[in-house]
């Protein structure tokens, strides 16, 4: 055992202690300063980029909140108000009615309201929606892509590291500035050229 007892040794140890103490404060200041230097004043929140989303269902299964904080959103200016909505009806539907066997949504979260012939309005009921993206996928594959997923910040607890983002296969999740917490599709887009004008061959 090191017997470090002795008058001058004590002061030497004290000296060492003080040195280390200063070193600790300097190190703390350095790390804090370095982090503060690259820091931002604003906080960030999590959001989905609908352009990158591949509708894989992770959003409905991986959220720490249940049902998920990710919800489907309907953009009315983009919606075609189709009588036969690809997002609403199961591909094997029997009739165009809201009976369970005709619906694509597993939780009956889409409401279908008649507007005028031949237009129907489709509304998402947020409290039923579990963010499974079935309707989003169908609407994007066959329709106007007016359904899309967004994080509802009323429900999201803004985890330091979003557990859905960790699982997202397409990097569609990222931190967005607090001031712009959504990526909403508001503007109606141009009607498709229907890829008829083929640049294929001249």
């Amino acid at each position: 055992m090191g017997d470090l007892n002795g008058p001058d040794k004590v002061s030497r140890i004290e000296f060492l202690r003080q040195g280390l103490s200063r070193l600790a404060s300097v190190a703390l200041g350095l790390v804090g300063g370095l982090a503060a230097f690259g820091s931002r004043r604003e906080n960030t929140v999590w959001q989905i980029d609908p352009a990158k989303c591949v509708k894989c269902e992770h959003c409905s299964t991986d959220c720490v909140v249940a049902p998920s904080a990710v919800k489907c959103v309907q953009s009315y200016p983009i919606c075609g108000y189709c009588r036969y909505c690809f997002g609403y009806f199961h591909p094997h539907y029997d009739e165009l009615t809201s009976a369970a066997e005709n619906q694509l949504c597993p939780t009956d979260a889409i409401e279908r309201v008649f507007v005028e012939d031949p237009y129907w309005e489709y509304n998402i009921e947020m409290d039923k929606c579990i963010g499974c993206a079935k309707c989003v996928k169908a609407c994007e594959d066959f329709g106007n892509a007016s359904f899309y997923l967004q994080v509802n910040h009323e429900i999201c607890v803004n985890c330091n590291n979003c557990s859905i983002a960790m699982q997202c296969p397409s990097d569609a999740w990222d931190r967005v500035p607090y001031d712009e917490p959504y990526r909403l599709k508001h503007e109606p887009r141009q009607v498709a050229e229907l890829s008829f004008e083929s640049p294929g061959k001249k």
């Binding site: 299964t61 029997d94 597993p106 004008e197 083929s198 640049p199 061959k201 001249k202």
Partner: protein
């Protein structure tokens, strides 16, 4: 227990009550906790997204749509499963409130009990005769033990672990070996650098690129004007092309080359002109930087839309994946590179063209999306694949092909897009620029004739431009071809329109006899045009999308010379050479001969 409770308080009613409360709270919390865990386990199985029983019933319904009983079952199942799911989630939500509530009660009553107990501390009964030596000895031992367990655990995880990234896997090894073997065998058989370039005469005799050696004018004078796909009349041979593609065939001596591709693979084919036999096919694979899976493209651009070209020694092909390859005439790869996956809403379609020993590539991409992609035009060394020059273009995508022009003073390569730019094909120096159209989708290749450059942009306009001054000579916004590249001959401008109809303008003025800015004639047709017209002697050959060849005279009045038909639709411009037409349908390659 090293704290002694004072007895007098432990008998009081309040004390007993608190004690009971603590116990009840604790048991309650424990039960809730167990229930929550059970609920969480059952939640996993009640996921409404993948409900096996429901999916099965839906399948049944598909087979028997009239069966109301199945429908009722589905409705019931759906309702039950949804209710179970939301109830479970609700229970999770409520359960945790109960759990926390129970814990609060337990802790609060237990902490209040502390106040009653008035605990008096006593030192440990046994005098701990601390043994410093033994203590330190044991501390070191257990520290070492802990560290060893940690390190051992790490090594057990790490040592048997093999990341597939650590060493190149087998097929890749094989692939690269094959490639090098291929390369060396090529180099032996292939006289790459030594071979002189094809002479202009040789080029003129062949069909080295899209629309032939002379901008849509064939060297032959007499080719068939009648044939019939149904009966086979006039058809020398017909051979299926394995993979689809909208690229037009090219021809060199006794060989026809074309490309095909789908999401899985891209290939180059070589057919004998003699009997249509496929001489070789080359699968374009193993190119560094090539994407594992092809990018999304429009179904009517496909993966092989760009027409090949040849310098007489090598053939060059480019695909929607950005893969560019040079093969020798036997199908061995001389070089291959990936230009970066093109960002293009329809898919890359600009065709290749050679100027002396430079392969010219128009690589216009969609710059709107935030991506490191850039549009460019490049001159590539035909022998090595190295860039001789590359010029960045700061505007969006286009689908037209480069046009080589000799103005009498110099060679120019002209690229049509939003901005029309002329480059020196040797150095890439910009010779002139012309701001033409903003945001147009430009697919027809520009055409040069007699000092004027003709540009077409579907839905916008035809522009005739003086190539020296870049002044607009005439413009017309009607009857504009969107895909078909026009033919200008004998002072007349001919084109087929996407939605059908053949149109003829006065190439010099764009005006009719009355001086009005309007077409000379317009001939209705049943089908639209993607292929481009070819002049053969005194006839114009123009194939519509249904496979009907419109043959007419290049005159100020429309005069049909025949409409022979094939039973196969097409978008490709034919090769017309000698007495023969080579024509690619959607599935087959045809030779039509006198």
């Amino acid at each position: 227990m090293r704290v002694v409770e004072q007895e007098k308080n432990t008998t009081s009613l309040a004390y007993r009550g608190l004690q009971a409360l603590a116990v009840i709270g604790g048991v309650f919390s424990f039960v809730i906790c167990i229930l929550l865990i059970a609920n969480n386990l059952s939640l996993k199985s009640s996921d409404p997204i993948h409900l096996k029983s429901l999916e099965g019933r839906l399948e049944e319904m598909k087979g028997d749509p009239q069966n109301e009983a199945i429908k009722l079952q589905i409705r019931e199942l759906d309702y039950i499963s949804r209710r179970a799911f939301f109830t479970s989630q609700h229970f999770n939500q409520m359960g945790i409130y109960f759990l926390v509530g129970g814990l609060v009660i337990t802790i609060a009553s237990y902490k209040t009990l502390d106040a009653y107990r008035q605990a008096v501390p006593y030192p440990d009964s046994s005098d701990p005769k601390d043994d410093l030596i033994d203590d330190a000895h044991w501390a070191r031992k257990s520290l070492t033990g802990g560290a060893l367990v940690l390190a051992g655990f790490a090594l057990i995880l790490a040592l048997p672990d093999n990341s597939p990234l650590d060493e190149p896997h087998e097929p890749a090894k094989k692939g690269s070996a094959q490639q090098t073997a291929q390369g060396s065998s090529e180099n032996k058989s292939n006289p790459s650098k030594a071979t002189p370039l094809a002479t202009p005469e040789e080029l003129a005799k062949n069909w080295p690129s899209f629309r032939g050696p002379a901008s849509g004018v064939s060297s032959s004078s007499e080719v068939p004007i009648t044939w019939d796909g149904e009966s086979g009349e006039g058809i020398a041979w017909k051979i299926p092309v394995p993979l689809p593609g909208f690229s037009s065939p090219i021809l060199w001596e006794d060989r026809v080359f074309l490309t095909g591709g789908d999401t899985q693979s891209r290939e180059v084919y070589c057919f004998s002109t003699q009997d249509g036999k496929m001489l070789w096919r080359h699968k374009v694979a193993g190119i560094p930087g090539s994407p594992a899976v092809a990018p999304k493209v429009s179904s009517d651009t496909g993966y092989a839309a760009s027409t090949m070209t040849t310098d007489g020694v090598r053939v060059f092909a480019i695909f929607s994946t950005g893969d560019l390859v040079a093969l020798d005439m036997e199908g061995n790869r001389i070089w291959g590179k990936n230009l970066g996956v093109p960002e293009n809403p329809y898919g890359h379609s600009s065709s290749l063209i050679c100027h002396e020993d430079v392969l010219l590539i128009q690589y216009d991409q969609d710059l709107e999306e935030e991506s490191p992609k850039e549009s460019f035009v490049a001159g590539i060394d035909v022998t090595t694949g190295d860039e001789k020059w590359k010029v960045k273009r700061d505007f969006g995508p286009s689908w037209a092909s480069p046009l080589l022009v000799n103005t009498g003073e110099r060679d120019e390569v002209i690229l049509a897009a939003e901005k029309v730019v002329s480059y020196d094909p040797k150095t890439g120096k910009v010779l002139w620029e012309f701001e033409w159209i903003e945001g147009g989708e430009i697919a027809p290749t520009p055409v040069y004739s007699d000092g004027l450059l003709y540009l077409c942009c579907g839905f916008a306009r035809i522009t005739a431009l003086d190539i020296k001054t870049q002044e607009i000579v005439w413009e017309n916004e009607e009857q504009v071809p969107g895909v078909c590249t026009p033919l200008v001959t004998g002072g007349l401008f001919f084109a087929g329109l996407d939605e059908g109809g053949i149109v003829c303008f006065d190439a010099k003025t764009g005006k009719d006899a009355d001086g009005e800015l309007i077409e000379l004639w317009f001939e209705e047709t049943d089908d639209g045009f993607y292929a481009s017209p070819i002049l053969v002697g005194d006839k114009v050959y123009l194939m519509d999308r249904a496979g009907k060849m419109h043959i007419f005279t290049p005159e100020k009045k429309f005069k049909s010379l025949g409409q022979p038909i094939l039973s196969e639709s097409t978008v490709c411009t034919p090769v017309i050479i000698g007495k023969t037409i080579y024509y690619r349908g959607t599935e087959n390659l045809y030779k039509i001969s006198l």
